[in-house]
């Protein structure tokens, strides 16, 4: 059986997204050295420019998926 390129693309996307969820799960274990998504986003949002850029990215996602 030959896997189609489309299927391979979807599998890679799914694997990466699963990896993100796995990291969040691992980060929430006691004593983990991996920061949670909220922690590293919060860290990036400490300077005002980081805060503005992250919030702009959030808004762009909404515009991209829900207004287009």
């Amino acid at each position: 059986m030959v896997m189609s390129t489309r299927a391979l693309t979807i599998i890679v996307f799914a694997a990466v997204v699963a990896g993100l969820f796995l990291l969040e799960f691992l980060a929430r274990r006691p004593g983990s050295r991996i920061p949670t998504l909220g922690q590293w986003l919060g860290y990036l949002m400490r300077p005002r420019i980081g805060r503005v850029l992250i919030l702009l990215g959030w808004w762009w996602l909404g515009w991209h998926y829900f207004a287009r």
Binding site: R6, G19, I34, P35, Q39, L55, G62, A67
Partner: protein, 149 residues
């Protein structure tokens, strides 16, 4: 990625404010009312036709409201960590870079059927009204969570 401290807002003493976050000493009735309003808004926004002025306004309103709250009435913020473990952070960086790279590859290939972009894969999933409304609700809640960071 730098791991040293930023002399940011966190160190600055903040005036006491009422928390907007559910279950943090606020009125649960008010929280429930806000929740119902958000669900109703997401349901209404989910019915807007793509590429319409209504859809654009439905996306603009949460952005303006959250930007206004963040600027003029910021909620109690969750303190970020002083430092990030560089090894732990590198795992995130690898995953996020892989996601962007795969998406960029699809974009470069004009998102053809044999290498669809994430957008082309997600759009059919949020096609049904209820799925789109749920996604909008999650998006708004994610925005609120970001404002609290």
């Amino acid at each position: 990625m730098a791991t040293e401290d930023f002399p940011g807002d966190r160190e600055r003493p903040r005036p006491a404010r009422a928390s907007f976050w559910p279950g943090h000493g606020t009125n649960r009735v008010r929280t429930a009312v806000i929740g119902l309003i958000l669900v109703g808004y997401a349901w209404a926004a989910g019915g807007a036709a793509p590429f319409s002025a209504t859809a654009l306004i439905c996306v603009l309103i949460p952005g303006v409201v959250l930007a206004g709250l963040a600027s003029w009435r910021p909620p109690d913020r969750i303190p970020p960590p002083d430092k990030l473990d560089i090894t732990g952070m590198s795992y995130w960086a690898i995953c996020v870079a892989a996601l962007f790279e795969w998406e960029a590859a699809a974009y470069r290939d004009n998102s053809l059927p044999w290498h669809p972009s994430l957008t082309d894969l997600v759009n059919p999933l949020i096609g049904p009204h209820i799925m789109k409304s749920a996604a909008i609700l999650i998006w708004i809640l994610a925005g609120w969570a970001l404002v609290r960071r």
